[in-house]
């Protein structure tokens, strides 16, 4: 067996063997998805009738975050703390193949998540918009961004600190990242802060924002990650007071005025 294949199999096998990995990667997203789509307690963005239409893309974003940032970051952090990375450094495996194996592991886990979460969402009545051509790049870009954060923590903090920081960031982004609670519902200063985080719109390739016959949002400006993590955040000038109305505009299916990578090349990758 080739070194890369063996490494990928090991990384994947060890991840799946951990109960907490399955909990954070599948259990929590599934629970949030089913609970909040059947118990209508969360606020919905204006123009969205069914909770599932807002929740399903957000939960997929959450799933990316849990695998690419939390699981990868914590796992790699402890591998570093326990000398595993050091030991691998004196084998012929080499850094490129180790990284390739980790990427493959994350993508496999995400495929499992999608295989569980998308059919569940569809069963719960989700009617995705047909921008699947953008779904894959958005998924990959989100994965790259969150894996970058996870590995940055793993490479600079102690294992236990990475554990705490990754979980803390997970909770913060769950609440403020527009994944289950629309940014428009957050109080002013918090919404401003949340505007600097990876945005709720970025899993929107799947979103059909309204069932009132409006066209779903298209194009990088509306559907690609626009947080500071994958690339630079939206200009602060567009946040604050204008942010709330902007969110509504976006979620109702209109193309936003100034947002994201495609429309702001000067705010490219940071």
């Amino acid at each position: 067996m080739s070194a890369l294949l063996a490494q990928t199999r090991t990384e994947l096998g060890l991840s799946l063997r951990q109960g907490e990995q399955l909990l954070v990667g599948i259990g929590i997203p599934l629970l949030l998805l089913v609970f909040f789509s059947t118990v209508d307690v969360l606020p919905k963005p204006e123009g969205v009738d069914e909770p599932i239409d807002f929740l399903a893309p957000g939960i997929l974003a959450l799933a990316i975050m849990s695998t690419a940032m939390v699981s990868l970051g914590i796992g790699t952090g402890f591998e570093r703390q326990y000398g595993v990375l050091k030991r691998l450094g004196v084998t012929p495996l080499g850094r490129p193949r180790l990284l390739a194996a980790k990427i493959a592991m994350v993508l496999c886990l995400e495929a499992i998540q999608v295989a569980v979460l998308v059919p569940t969402s569809l069963l719960l009545g989700w009617e995705p918009g047909w921008s699947l051509a953008l779904a894959l790049p958005a998924y990959l870009l989100g994965t790259a961004a969150f894996a970058g954060i996870g590995l940055l923590m793993a490479g600079t903090l102690r294992g236990t600190v990475t554990l705490a920081a990754a979980n803390g960031l997970y909770i913060v982004l769950l609440l403020l990242g527009g994944m289950i609670i629309p940014l428009s519902e957050l109080p002013g200063p918090v919404a401003t802060l949340a505007g600097l985080l990876p945005r709720e719109r970025w899993p929107r390739p799947w979103a059909r924002p309204s069932r009132r016959g409006r066209r779903p949002a298209r194009g990088p400006g509306s559907s690609w990650p626009s947080g500071p993590w994958a690339h630079r955040s939206p200009p602060p000038a567009s946040s604050a007071g204008s942010d709330r109305s902007h969110q509504r505009t976006d979620l109702s299916g209109q193309r936003p005025e100034v947002r994201g990578w495609g429309s702001r090349p000067e705010a490219g990758p940071g």
Binding site: A3, L5, Y82, G83, V84, R87, V90, T91, P92, L93
Partner: protein, 342 residues
């Protein structure tokens, strides 16, 4: 396949200096390891053993000096070198949830011509722990697995950092046997230890280091014969009348530690008989008696104590002349020992 030209030493360390900020961990260290031999780097904690080995493994860049393993530079030729060296870290280095056969098969996949993971598992006595995750193995079992991982790539050179530290006697015995077998297989082994018995029993050559410097080097026999001194050591009840005994023997008697005495006299049968007679006269039991060749333990203690004393006289950074005098003094001692031992 043998990497590097001909029969050059497998490991060469020339004038190696490694600093951590202000602290000099390894100070102008030089030694070589011939192919197919076992060399022990022996020294107290903090002597610079691990730093030296980690520099040879390519983890650290020397501040000065050169290192070569199989004729290759551990940093610039790292990728080529990893195919021919096996490494046992002092601790850890294995996924905590992985089982022994899994990690052995994984590591075997890294190499072109690996050893059979199943055979290795038997060899290190872990066949009964096939289902036990690494984190649930005992310290000794973890060390044995780590040794197996160092050997799975059929290395030409094995770096073993404190391979038996904190291990029960049976596990220690097994590890020592495996290391001894490596010599017959032609593997070059550099191991670090602060266990003198281990160095004496296992190594073809011993390099004693302290404060990052070589204090002495040679075969265990050379080092201990070189330390041959005119003294007899014996054990008896503490607090003997040393003056009375000394007068009786016509020699100086020290109590080097409670209950351990040193008589500064040639170990002739007459002197030994006189000691036992004096003890019999005072109805005192003789607990042990050693004359002639010192143990490596004695050599080690004296060398490191001398180094400590020199360091106290000339603490680091107190001035160039004092420090160099201390170093020179130690070098002279080392040189004279080598000369006598040859």
């Amino acid at each position: 396949m043998t990497v590097g030209p001909g029969r050059d030493p497998a490991i060469e360390v020339q004038d190696l200096t490694v600093r951590f900020g202000e602290h000099v961990a390894v100070d102008a260290l030089s030694f070589a390891v011939e192919r197919g031999t076992i060399v022990a780097l022996l020294g107290p904690n903090g002597a610079g053993k691990t730093t030296t080995v980690e520099t040879l493994e390519g983890f650290r860049r020397p501040d000065r000096g050169t290192t070569r393993v199989l004729g290759l530079d551990p940093i610039t030729d790292h990728a080529a070198l990893t195919r021919h060296v096996g490494v046992m870290l002092q601790s850890g280095g294995v996924y905590t949830a992985i089982r022994p056969p899994e990690v052995l098969r994984l590591f075997a996949a890294y190499y072109d011509d690996p050893a059979d993971p199943e055979e290795l598992l038997e060899r290190v006595g872990l066949a009964a722990h096939r289902r036990t995750p690494y984190r649930h193995l005992s310290g000794g079992e973890q060390q044995r697995l780590s040794l197996a991982l160092a050997l799975v790539g059929r290395p030409q050179v094995a770096f073993l950092d404190e391979p038996t530290a904190g291990i029960d006697p049976a596990g220690r015995q097994l590890i020592r046997q495996i290391i001894a077998d490596l010599r017959t297989e032609g593997v070059t082994v550099l191991l670090t230890t602060h266990d003198l018995a281990e160095a004496e029993r296992l190594a073809d050559r011993v390099v004693i280091i302290d404060r990052g410097r070589v204090l002495a080097a040679g075969t265990p026999a050379e080092l201990t014969t070189a330390d041959d001194t005119d003294e007899i050591r014996f054990g008896a009840a503490p607090g003997l009348d040393r003056l009375a005994l000394g007068t009786s023997l016509g020699a100086t008697v020290d109590e080097v530690s409670p209950g351990e005495y040193r008589v500064l006299a040639a170990p002739t049968p007459a002197t030994v008989a006189a000691i036992t007679a004096w003890l019999a006269e005072h109805d005192l039991a003789l607990l042990d008696l050693r004359a002639g060749r010192a143990s490596l333990h004695d050599v080690f203690l004296r060398l490191t104590e001398t180094a400590d004393a020199a360091a106290v006289e000339a603490p680091d950074g107190s001035g160039g002349s004092g420090a160099s005098a201390g170093r020179g003094g130690r070098r002279r001692r080392t040189g004279s020992r080598r000369g006598r031992g040859a």
